[in-house]
Symmetry: C2
Subunit: 179 residues, 2 copies
Amino acid sequence: MALKNKSLYAILGILNVSPGTGYDIKKYCDTVLSGFWNENFGHIYPTLKKMLIDELVEIVESETSEKKIQYQITPKGQMELEAWLMEDSEIQPMRSEFMLKLLFSSNQPKEHVIKMLEDYKQLHVKKLEKYLDMQHDLEQGIEEISEERSRFLKATLRRGVLSCEATIRWCEETIDSGL
Amino acid sequence: MALKNKSLYAILGILNVSPGTGYDIKKYCDTVLSGFWNENFGHIYPTLKKMLIDELVEIVESETSEKKIQYQITPKGQMELEAWLMEDSEIQPMRSEFMLKLLFSSNQPKEHVIKMLEDYKQLHVKKLEKYLDMQHDLEQGIEEISEERSRFLKATLRRGVLSCEATIRWCEETIDSGL
DNA sequence: TGAATTTTATATCAGAGTGATATAGTTGTC
DNA sequence: GACAACTATATCACTCTGATATAAAATTCA
């Protein structure tokens, strides 16, 4: 099987929640999915065009006809989404520039390495705060989300929290070790 | 600043440890760096060629002249590496296909979602075992690594362990919740 | 010894994904 | 009503991915 365009599935999943423009899709990624999914305009628009040709999405003929293009998922698109949801997930390779830099820093001055770790920790403290805020908002039921979807969103947020906490603990432990 | 080729820094860091071929670099990524760095031949070879032109690396004239090309870092390459090590790291966007799939699975049969989580947990149990083995090997001092480098390698392994443990705990917690 | 298999080694390609930049209408605000 | 901020689409060069092709060297084992 050739290389898969993963953005396609992200777009199907988002449009399956509610129809929207390419811009809306980007906003959804930058907010709801921000903890574990990144998407660029430079990939969203070409992918939407391809999906239109493949009839996975269709254009909603909007009343206020401007230059904005509203998309919605088609039955074919829903089948494609469903098939992907049923597929087994494989382990994905990752790239952490920070960890790479750290490993190659054994000859750097100790104080610089400690500074690196402290900055990295701070980044994750901020990220953790953001997750906790989002968790709080979700608990308050500010957004109009079904009980069902809310439970899944909470699970993803919970993972973000645990992951941040683990990273923060690792930073502290490593700083304390003095390396 | 234009988009940066991160592979270049990975290659500089690896060659700074010891000279080697493109193939050696790939092997190093797949073993030592496997927890946090992925590299492909399709990017290593063209990058090495570019680095040769920019005089960041040079070819070692080897005695056993086959078609294998041995590279070593140049003083200019070491300066480039040093400059990168001193740069602040920024937060990097990520993509977890598993988390994306999970979030969009609120209408899937519960047993399928539980299965997904159990498979994902199992993947991380295996990964954790691998990290613990590597940690053990490092503790035994099997490889010939300097005390200094060994401490940094241990720190990266420790992060892998903590991260896996957090993921496993999250899986268990989420499975138990029944969603 | 020699056949089969695995490992070492380089190279190339199409397509996925990134981030910057250009353009322009619409909305908010001071 | 000027200015800033937001909405919206599009394109570009470049990075990165994973598949595939090729072939020599080393290893297995019959």
